[in-house]
């Protein structure tokens, strides 16, 4: 086991969570009033944890860099939230959701955590409906479901293409109720700049008020980090502009191990890059793959003619198109998991079949679905001898009802009508499965420091299935953390308030102000974005959808050099003691420049292909990922030792007792 104790409960898988809840220590309601908890991040995980912990009676302080908790990037999740309700009666169960998630994660996640996730998934839906979250419904008044990639059942609950928004506003509303009761104090436009440890325990944070620039000390008996993922490492991603790894990285530098940093999800259906000015990428929900068919031209010369604008995709007949996912993976077709779909798109584009100017795009085509729905609608409305145009019109209406907002978003960005001509899509960085290492209680390797939601590593292994991020965020916040944190806090009922007037807080604050000064003192040649874009290019080209040892070694070297350059030459106008967006960005990029190197090191160390981590050296003759369970069936947990190159690798062996580990196949 080494230094990593996952604290998984004993006993049969299905009873672990119940047994654990029965055995862990609780804090009585009167004592909860004497305990303070800091929660950093107010997305689905942080917001739901804050609401629930406050409701239980703890004093909660929340921090977010946005101007309101409601703006956390969970709001942008489109497709849906999974739950093993089996309302459709199509054979779903807790075990099947667990199985799909472990298999989807390419057998690199912890069995007990995933099973618990599947188990509490059903509570999420009950909870959210009680809160007034307006999920999509069928005409009979019951909840509707749809399917997502990598599974064979329909278990995804949704609210049009805005499920994340509705769930986050639910959590935000629950937070508001506690703010009104005085149980949550919400600090907005605040950023955590360091974690403070007292006697080895997390006891507070140093935060910067982003409006006044003031540095503040906040203490608590425990600190929860729910700060999301680190995909902005790549500069271009579907993350919001402010998403960063600062809180998690500062915890890492104070002793929290960072797990599987190289496990990144590159989502197959995003709007392709249009030029160098691009600041972010936009996702087109995976739910579109329910009805859209992905293809490129069969002949290279057709692809070339399309790129040159001499040929339109609608001019190519069925036999001239290569529906490569349906061809390669007949069982799952267009609904293969994200990692598989992304790699397949890259493979076709690398081979010269890309369909936009840059050659980095494939088609997502709705024409077949439009006609299918149109014919069905004509039949059910009793229309006879209907011509194709009418059928198309009927079908477009149905498709609009399902995905209207996504189609509108696409048209606004690309200036093409996706009802008439196929969408162009390309993979983009979307989610990070890696994150802070946590035990079964979601506690990091620092006592009293917890990580929830995308910020931790535990549930998705090497690849996350669609609609599982919302599930995990809410499971952690509403149903897991509120129980498990009590086990730790039960020792703190007599501790009393933590003073911020201590050498530990003094030192942490000094480190923070020194660092801000150092950032501001750069000689000033290049802007923060200049470095961020450079880092992004290295990451995308050498640590992206496919990786090899040679390029990973180059990346490690280049990132270290770029980091040095950054600290010497970054240019930040303005002052540290006032609102300063460039300074905010600089702090975030400084951390990415360290994490990027660890990311590449982790990818280099993992000599296998699994999930989102594809090493060119390890593939089957058909180009499928070649996992190495004998040597790599473990979680990489990195311990900070100064420079990223000095980080020490600890391994948590993954044991599968309830699921047979096999080659992941979607054929």
């Amino acid at each position: 086991m080494g230094v990593l104790d996952s604290r998984e409960p004993q006993g049969p898988l299905a009873n672990k969570w119940t047994n654990h809840k029965n055995e862990i220590d609780l804090v009585n309601p009167a004592n909860k009033r004497n305990i303070d908890i800091i929660i950093v991040g107010t997305g689905l995980a942080g917001g739901s944890a804050a609401a629930t912990l406050a409701e239980l009676g703890y004093n909660v302080k929340t921090f977010c860099y946005q101007d309101s908790p409601r703006r956390a990037h969970s709001i942008a999740a489109q497709g849906g939230v999974n739950a093993a309700k089996n309302y459709q009666g199509d054979g779903d169960s807790v075990y099947r959701l667990f199985y799909d998630t472990v298999k989807g994660g390419d057998y690199r996640s912890r069995e007990s955590n995933v099973y618990r996730l599947a188990e509490v998934s059903t509570n999420i839906i009950d909870q959210c409906v009680a809160q007034g979250v307006p999920f999509a419904r069928e005409y009979g008044g019951l909840l509707d479901n749809r399917s997502f990639g990598g599974v064979l059942v329909s278990r995804t609950f949704y609210a049009k293409g805005q499920t994340g928004q509705q769930l986050l506003l639910g959590a935000y509303a629950a937070m508001n109720r506690q703010i009104q009761r005085g149980k949550i104090k919400s600090y907005t436009r605040h950023e955590m700049l360091d974690l403070v440890l007292v006697d080895g325990k997390a006891r507070g944070i140093i935060a910067r008020d982003l409006v006044s620039g003031e540095i503040e000390r906040h203490s608590a008996h425990a600190v929860v980090l729910a700060t999301g993922g680190y995909g902005n490492l790549f500069f271009l991603s579907t993350y919001c502009m402010g998403a960063n790894v600062m809180a998690a990285w500062k915890a890492h530098k104070k002793g929290a191990f960072f797990a599987n940093p190289c496990f990144t999800q590159i989502h197959p259906t995003c709007i392709p890059v249009s030029g160098d000015h691009q600041s972010k990428l936009t996702l087109m929900s995976e739910s579109l793959r329910n009805d859209g068919r992905i293809w490129v031209p069969k002949r290279l010369e057709d692809a070339q003619a399309i790129r040159e604008g001499k040929l339109k995709p609608t001019q190519l007949g069925e036999e001239e198109r290569d529906y490569y996912l349906e061809r390669r993976y007949p069982a799952f077709g267009n609904l293969v998991p994200r990692d598989v779909a992304s790699r397949a798109a890259k493979e076709r584009c690398d081979a010269g079949f890309g369909v936009n100017k840059t050659g980095e795009a494939v088609y997502l085509d709705f024409s077949a679905a439009i006609m299918r729905y149109g014919r069905e609608k004509a039949l059910t409305s009793g229309m006879k001898n209907v011509d194709d145009n009418t059928i198309r019109e009927l079908g477009e209406k149905i498709v609009e009802a399902k995905y209207g907002n996504l189609f509108q978003m696409y048209e606004k960005i690309v200036d093409e009508n996706p009802y008439k001509t196929p969408m162009m899509i390309y993979p983009a960085v979307h989610y990070t499965m890696g994150g802070l290492w946590v035990d079964y209680n979601l506690q990091t390797t620092i006592p009293g420091c917890y990580a929830a939601g995308e910020a931790n590593f535990s549930d998705h292994g090497a690849n996350r299935l669609g609609a599982s991020a919302l599930m995990q965020g809410l499971a952690d916040g509403y149903f897991v953390l509120p129980y498990t944190i009590g086990d730790y806090l039960s020792d703190d009922i007599r501790t009393g308030p933590i003073s911020t007037d201590s050498p530990e807080f003094d030192e942490a604050e000094k480190n923070v102000t020194d660092k801000l000064e150092k950032l501001m003192s750069g000689t000033g040649i290049h802007s923060v974005d200049y470095y961020h874009k450079k880092l992004g290019k290295i990451m995308w080209n050498k640590c992206g959808m496919s990786r090899n040892a040679k390029e990973l070694k180059e990346a490690i070297k280049e990132i270290a050099e770029l980091r040095k350059d950054f600290w010497e030459n970054v240019k930040i106008p303005g002052r540290p003691d006032s609102k300063n967006q460039e300074l905010e960005k600089a702090g975030r990029v400084a951390d990415f420049l360290e994490l990027g190197e660890l990311f590449a090191k982790d990818a280099l160390e993992r000599n296998e292909s699994c999930g989102g981590h594809f090493r060119e050296e390890y593939q089957t003759p058909e180009g499928e990922a070649l996992r190495d369970d004998e040597n790599f069936k473990f979680v990489s947990a990195w311990e900070y030792k100064g420079e990223p190159s000095d980080a020490i690798l600890h391994k948590e062996d993954l044991v599968y007792e309830n699921i047979k580990v096999k080659t992941r196949s979607y054929k």
Partner: protein, 248 residues
């Protein structure tokens, strides 16, 4: 294309602001409006000047952070989108573009184009929720069937992103569309009935306290709302409010 920008610059809440002229060349039509501002800022930084600060985050039209008045219209000339979704193809070479922050007493300027919208949070805190415990065991989700039509209407009201364009568009700086969207979301659902009267009264009281103006049915809010939140919601809120006061 080449653009002539007039941008509101203000150091902080207590300093007086002013419009400042900038000329920006090399703007491409497939850039987003905010990417155009990114380029302006890169230029300013390279000259050692402070960049123009503006609020933005998701850049895909859903977080509600971005908030610019462009040529006098919240979120610019196109309808049903936020500034971050606005693209430069909506402008022409040589255009003059006036960029200001939201203007409303209840939204004081923090810096440049950034305003303080915490008044919106306080309206929500006054009652924008259903008082169920998140750690409890509610009934099964399908135990409460809800007619699709009502669920869809409730959803439509719930899609408000809280950006504040409605307030910025209104000559009275009224927050009725924003407040009524939340009141409606719950008023249309069976789960929301129990606290309906209390909710509408508390939220409206807070809205007035924050210094937002009254509604005079101009309808500018509905036209400028990037999510198409309907005026119907204001009518519904007025009904709810009346019925709550009658119940007293």
């Amino acid at each position: 294309m080449k653009l002539y920008l007039k941008i509101w610059r203000q150091k902080n809440a207590s300093t007086k602001g002013q419009m400042v002229d900038y000329t920006l060349d090399g703007v491409e039509s497939d850039m987003s409006f905010l990417e155009m501002l990114d380029i302006l800022n890169e230029e300013l930084i390279s000259k050692g000047e402070e960049p123009v600060e503006f609020d933005h985050d998701c850049r895909e039209g859903i977080c509600g952070t971005c908030s610019l008045m462009i040529n006098g219209r919240p979120h610019g000339p196109d309808s049903m989108i936020t500034v971050c979704q606005l693209h430069m193809r909506s402008f022409n070479d040589g255009d003059e573009i006036v960029i200001e922050p939201w203007r409303a007493k209840a939204f004081p300027v923090i810096k440049d184009l950034i305003v303080d919208r915490t008044a919106f949070d306080r309206i929500q805190q006054a009652g924008g929720y259903i008082s169920v415990n998140t750690s409890g065991r509610p009934v099964d989700a399908n135990a409460i069937p809800i007619a699709k039509e009502m669920a869809d209407k409730s959803f439509n009201a719930a899609t408000c992103i809280g950006c504040g364009a409605c307030v910025a568009a209104c000559k009275n700086a009224s927050a009725m569309l924003f407040t009524s969207a939340k009141v409606s979301q719950f008023a249309l659902l069976p789960q929301g009935q129990v606290e309906a009267a209390e909710r509408v009264e508390n939220m409206v009281r807070q809205m007035d306290l924050e210094g937002f103006g009254n509604c005079t049915n101009t309808g500018a809010c509905e036209i400028e709302c990037p999510k198409g939140i309907s005026l119907e919601n204001i009518a519904r809120m007025n009904r709810e409010y009346l019925s709550a006061s009658v119940k007293g």
